[in-house]
Symmetry: C2
Subunit: 405 residues, 2 copies
């Protein structure tokens, strides 16, 4: 049984619940007699290289602070986009020198695809050099695009925010008695999970959003215009949801000028998002009032409307990661296995990370309708349990209270 | 004492609490023995002209439905942007024919500046023709730009959403250890109240947002770039908030090409928002990662994080409007008078609408700092009571539940 200190880092784009996972790791470390002190590496693996640490054992000695951390969005320790080199070079040497210096026997990394690559490489290097350390990946990404796991922590809260906001925006956009089209753009370059979550807004049997376009299906501008025209005959105020990553069959992003031959006055490509380009096309073709809305960062940090299921699971999977490491596991990612649909129930297990790192899980084709402009019931059945329960964020002075550094 | 039926309409851009005011009017009508049936005009005054009504007495016979209406964002009756003609022509004749046909003795109109103009003209026409009807305006606008009233229903909830969201986005935008600038664009063409509300995010003593630009102050692009550079020396991740309506000293909207001589590749004016233009400028000048976020419709319909103070007051001012009409008042707008600061307390009074219609109340100069890039404490003291308390929206299946038509 390894004994020593532990270190944890956060990496990649933050989420609403990445700090809940951090809190879970800290709690797990507090409970483990094998772990003396737990350090937080600032800005992910770059904090290890730069020896920038927070002593989390001291910082979170007060349980109330840990409770506040659970509800605080964005990466408390800071994040990075740093990817380790392909060769086991001096960067690895440096990381393990630091591990040795601080007597690190356990390393936990909370992140998405790229971060799991880091876990993979570090654990391989440790095995190769015989350095005694157990390294575990804790999954995190709003994009829900990690392999093996039923879903990723962060997805449920983003999905809840997206569905709630679209339900509200649809109400607002439908007050006028004239033709309007509102296009809402959702994150997810290659995987359409979050865009699909927009359909949850309809679980009260309202019709909006009327059209949903995922990046998994090649986007056809003419088909899109025809779709909008068709819907507009039944609903004067059309609500369409698009992924930021939709591409034409030629592989061109819509936001990068796929429509350049149609919108010839469109000069400054970087300035325009996907929704904006499409809204402009609609306006040009039909003359209707249009509006484009990007949910942008809002969708990944709205802790005030986090999914309690997501928050709880995110914390649990962090703690489970520590337990797995203590058991002697290394080079593994923790994941959720859905063991029951009704009632929804997951188990937290671990899986060899080499088959997870750098693999993207996209929305299966059979969950998308034939027209390619909506999702099907199995996708809703899959997502609905993940947005259940409301976060119990604290409010003070009328605003949600988050932890200070 | 007039006896007969009542009619109510909603007009202008919807808000999170305009339906709470509608519920207040309905409750007031239910309590008044002088009112037999209350009708809702669909899409504001155009619903009167088209005789498109909802029988609200029937629709809301069940108090649970009325309770749900209170928490439902956007105009339940639909809205319009219709402005009555300047001359008392056949349009007025038609309106009053309809009033007569349906035995309307009380008319309530919930809206902003333009809607108060409608109330003003209709009440003048009634006086001129001797038609027995009492007409009352119930204020509504997220922009908070109505004269006489301390604040408008709708502002507090939008302010709460803006401050909460910016607090969350600031967390997210500050996770990286490299220079970034995030520019957030807020509604309010001429009045900067909502933009000022961004400063409420700092009431927990965090530094973000670091810069706030209101439309009341002429915007200087060079000064802005210098401001951002200065802040970046202390904070690597700069958060700046701008009103959609900021203009240069020459009166050009920033979003309409005020920067055209600087960004010569900027071809398609309508495609770009203010924040996007400024983010692009920053990127060009400093090469930093930038992000622009428009809160768009989200800020006026986020009922899931409505201010309970706002919701409650919006309902109360609706009911007060009915009571004023029953007392015999007409051509008046209801308004809030702040009678105590600590504790915050308002009285609901009525005021001759002729001095309110078409007047815009902007943020006073003495509440803006000398640099023109932030607001001062009195503005915070004024706004803070308006965002207090959390709405008690119902959740079902993980999402907020709103009333169906």
């Amino acid at each position: 049984m390894l004994k020593g200190n532990a270190m944890v880092g956060q990496s990649g784009g933050p989420t609403t619940v990445i700090n809940a996972s951090l809190a879970g790791v800290i709690k797990g470390a507090f409970e483990a007699s094998e772990i003396q002190t737990i350090y937080g590496a600032e800005h992910g693996i770059t904090g290890v290289l730069d020896e920038k640490f927070v002593n989390l054992s001291e910082r979170f000695a007060d349980p109330a602070q840990l409770e506040l951390l659970i509800h605080t969005p964005a990466a408390y320790l800071g994040s990075c986009r740093y990817k380790l080199p392909k060769e086991f070079n001096e960067v690895f040497e440096k990381v393990f020198q630091v591990f040795k210096k601080y007597n690190i026997a356990y390393f936990f990394y909370i992140g998405g695809n790229d971060s799991m690559d880091t876990v993979h490489k570090l654990s391989q290097y440790a095995k190769m050099t015989g350095y005694p350390i157990n390294i575990i990946g804790v999954p995190k990404t709003i994009d829900n695009d990690l392999a093996i796991t039923d879903h990723t922590p962060g997805f449920g809260s983003a999905a809840k925010y997206i569905a709630s906001s679209i339900r509200e925006v649809a109400r607002d956009a439908q007050v006028y008695d004239s033709n309007t089209v509102t296009i809402i753009e959702i994150m997810g370059r290659n995987a359409g999970w979050l865009t699909a979550a927009a359909a949850l807004a309809r679980t009260d049997n309202e019709a909006a959003p009327h059209l949903i376009y995922l990046p998994e299906i090649a986007f056809d501008v003419d088909k899109f215009l025809a779709d909008v025209e068709k819907v507009s005959k039944k609903y004067k105020n059309v609500i369409a949801v698009v992924s930021e990553g939709i591409k034409t069959k030629d592989g061109l992003y819509v936001c990068e000028g796929a429509t350049a031959n149609i919108v010839d006055s469109f000069g400054h490509k970087q300035l325009s998002g996907t929704a904006r380009v499409l809204a402009d096309l609609i306006h040009q073709k039909f003359g209707w009032k249009v509006r484009s809305i990007e949910l942008s960062l809002l969708q990944r940090c709205a802790a005030h409307i986090a999914s309690l299921t997501d928050v709880t699971e995110a914390e649990q999977i962090g703690t489970a990661g520590v337990k797995a490491a203590i058991r002697g596991e290394t080079g593994m990612m923790m994941y959720f296995k859905r063991v029951s649909e009704k009632p929804y129930k997951v188990e937290i297990l671990s899986h060899d990370i080499s088959t997870i790192a750098n693999v993207e899980k996209i929305v299966p084709n059979e969950w998308i309708n034939k027209e390619g402009n909506d999702i099907l019931q199995p996708a809703l059945d899959y997502m609905l349990p993940l947005i259940q329960g409301e976060s119990t964020a604290f409010f003070e002075n009328g605003l949600p209270v988050y932890l200070k550094r």
